[in-house]
């Protein structure tokens, strides 16, 4: 137990939380934008996977991590556009079309990885790209900060995409609440008729919400295969796209709340990795954030109901 506490309160643990949470924060921001735009994107998972795969393969060929990242994000955005087209133009059910995309990405990435490994190494590998030499996004030592004890350990030396995730959270908050387009996007999500009546392009905003969610999912996917580790593995997203969606709900559909929720998920994950070394069953620790989300969903509803009852009761007392 003491050992466990030591682990939790160490600076390197907090640093690992940031690292583990990055591939949750990024897609969660995307999920948040799509939720607020009224077009829930449950294909974050597939988009992440496609980006993770594309990023690695492009970096193998170009030897450039940045080119890989751009290509990965572009593919995720392209998939988001495809989803938007099927839903918005061809009126396909958003959830079912998203499920189709997830299946597509899982299959297509494995298929492509096999072809590429076969052509480059002579023997095809379905499991991933560990036989290839791919690039990684840079890790950044921040001058001055890196020399401060504890804080330096936590905040310096992270991957550039980890910093990006934190900065992007602020930018997303600014975008959603202080820019015209962001406000229009939220208006469309909440009352499309109202938005349409003042000349807002409803269809355009929904496209934007989905494509932006693709962008963030893409960044998250790229981080997984080009930051968190340095290869692509089959189905390596392992449900992170869905957890990101849960973080949006746990965070009350607010950018900062979503960030905190994603960090909490990351903390539980990081903890389970650490405790696994101490021979404590990882499954139990990993369960915690999911149970927390379920409890949060329940509590939120109960609190809402209680508030309504209180309001009604206040009226009774006034009578």
């Amino acid at each position: 137990m003491e050992q466990a506490l030591q682990v939790i309160f160490s600076a390197s643990f907090i640093a690992s939380v940031l690292r583990v949470a990055t591939p949750l924060i990024l897609p969660a921001l995307g999920g948040l934008i799509s939720e607020l735009g009224g077009v829930s994107n449950i294909a974050l998972e597939g988009m992440m996977l496609a980006a993770a795969c594309t990023g690695v393969l492009v970096s193998v060929y170009t030897k450039s991590a940045w080119a890989g990242m751009l290509a990965g994000v572009a593919v995720a955005m392209l998939l988001a556009t495809l989803l938007a087209f099927f839903h918005l133009n061809l009126r396909a059910d958003l959830i079912l079309a998203a499920i189709a995309l997830n299946i597509l990405c899982s299959g297509a990435t494995t298929f492509v990885v096999y072809l590429v490994t076969q052509s480059l190494t002579g023997s095809g590998d379905k499991g991933g790209t560990s036989t290839l030499i791919s690039q990684q996004m840079p890790f950044i030592e921040i001058p001055i900060i890196k020399d401060i004890p504890v804080i330096g350990t936590i905040f310096s030396g992270q991957n550039i995409l980890t910093y990006a995730a934190l900065i992007l959270t602020a930018l997303v908050a600014l975008f959603l609440f202080r820019t015209r387009i962001g406000i229009h996007l939220r208006a469309v999500g909440e009352n499309p008729d109202a938005a349409r009546s003042v000349g807002i392009n409803v269809q355009g905003m929904r496209y934007l919400a989905l494509i932006l969610s693709g962008f963030f999912a893409g960044l998250g996917g790229v981080f997984l295969s080009m930051g968190y580790v340095k290869f692509f593995a089959r189905d390596m997203t392992a449900g992170r796209g869905f957890i990101a969606l849960a973080a949006v709900y746990l965070g009350a559909k607010n950018p900062w709340g979503t960030l905190i929720a994603a960090l909490a998920f990351g903390a539980a994950d990081a903890l389970s990795i650490q405790l696994g070394n101490l021979k404590i069953p990882t499954q139990i620790v990993q369960m915690i954030p999911y149970i927390a989300t379920i409890i949060a969903l329940v509590l939120y509803a109960v609190v809402q109901r209680q508030r309504a009852i209180n309001r009604q009761r206040k009226f009774r007392q006034a009578v």
Binding site: T179, E190, N191, D193, A194, Q312, R313, V319
Partner: protein, 515 residues
Amino acid sequence: MAEPLIEMRNITKIYSNGVRADNDVTFEVRPGEIHALVGENGAGKSTLMKILYGMEKPTSGEIMLRGKPVTINTPHEAIALGIGMVHQNFMLVPSFTIAENIVLGSEPLQSGLVNSRKAVEATNALGKQYGLAVDPTAVVDSVPVGMRQRVEILKALYRGAEVLILDEPTAVLTPQETIELFAAIRQLVKAGKTVVFISHKLREVKEISDRVSVMRDAKMVGTVDTADTDEERIARMMVGREVFMNIRKPPTQRGDVMLKVRNLEYATEAGVEALRRVSFNVYANEILGIAGVEGNGQTELVELIAGLRKPQAGTIELANHTIAGHTPREVRQAGCAHIPEDRLTNGVALTSSISENLIVDRYTQEPFTRGGFMNPVAIRDNGDRLIEQYGIRTPDGTLPVGSLSGGNMQKVVVARELSSQPKLLIAAQPTRGVDIGASEFMHEQLIRARNDGVAILLISADLGEVLSLSDRLAVMKDGRITAIFSDVNALTEEEVGLYMLGIKQQTEVEIEQNL
């Protein structure tokens, strides 16, 4: 004569399903006038205005603005041309503040970001200029309906509207709010704006408008100066025949108390007071009408009785069984039938078959369910019988209700509710959104049920309707019963109107005597 500001010439609109909503309609508006556009539901007036506002494209015809032809493809283009519209169901974003809603779509910017302080200032300035008071920082969700409507008008003015189209603006207002709205409209016109006022409340049309255009069956019947006409003549233009508001109603002896409501109290989940100490009886063999402007607690009252909401205090007894706080099914089994206010959204399931719609209140009973299993033959026979009996026009009861016309969907609701042989029938706004033919059908059915011994609670915002149908009449205002009259024949519309507006009210003793 002033040159027209807007001319819509030979407008025809045919929807893709073949419905001809507007047929060669010509309509003109002069600058600075209040122009009422009236007609029954489905006469084509809303479609015409949607075309003007760029929400629908006309199949043929042209629009001239200040003598120049224009094409208006989107609301955005309409706004740019100075045309604003206030819709019947408000186009507001509930979680945004009033200021945010008013500037939505053209927010003031400061170095690229939206400046909310400027939005608040602009809202205040506009409100002051036109006498439309709003609280700019309040969240729309938490403000009353009247204020939301003012927000809608300010929204249009903020966008530089010169012409304001108001789509049935008084339908949701209290009388006080209506008075305020009319004052605001007059002020707008004084400030040089032009107003198109869609309505079918002829009294209001007479009061507020300078000219009236009447539509019927997708055609423009004509435009007259309001001063040269009266309500009856407008009504005749609307329906193309004399309106018989005299309903033959044989005298009956009222029976036992069927519904007994005492001291009912209710606040909505938002904590807004809806009902206060509501008490009344409804007897067998009588129609108790509840008159009142919509939004004075009638909807909540109906839903409380029907079991769709639970009261905070008070009792409701139906044929001596207490039903307050019981489920809709228990209330129905106690003998309550309910023709709901929004029949097409709450009264039918469009994709379910007609026969299945006709058993929603009784599917667990014999013969529809026997030994735990449903009996398709019984369901079909019941459907065929009611289709025949109530004259629902359809080739087959297995077709979805959505395949019926609006009037026939209404009949499905009436057929189901009346065939349940209720002790109490609640009819909420039974003829709203219904054409004259369907209204007559509805009235006949209500009177027949009353003659057969059913206790009927009739809620209607249409004063003519409640006065001619009811045996007794109660008036609701601000969630209270402010008067109950035992003899409707002695009442005039004007008299009841004073109670509806809250200018007069009975004492508690008087109400007690007439419960």
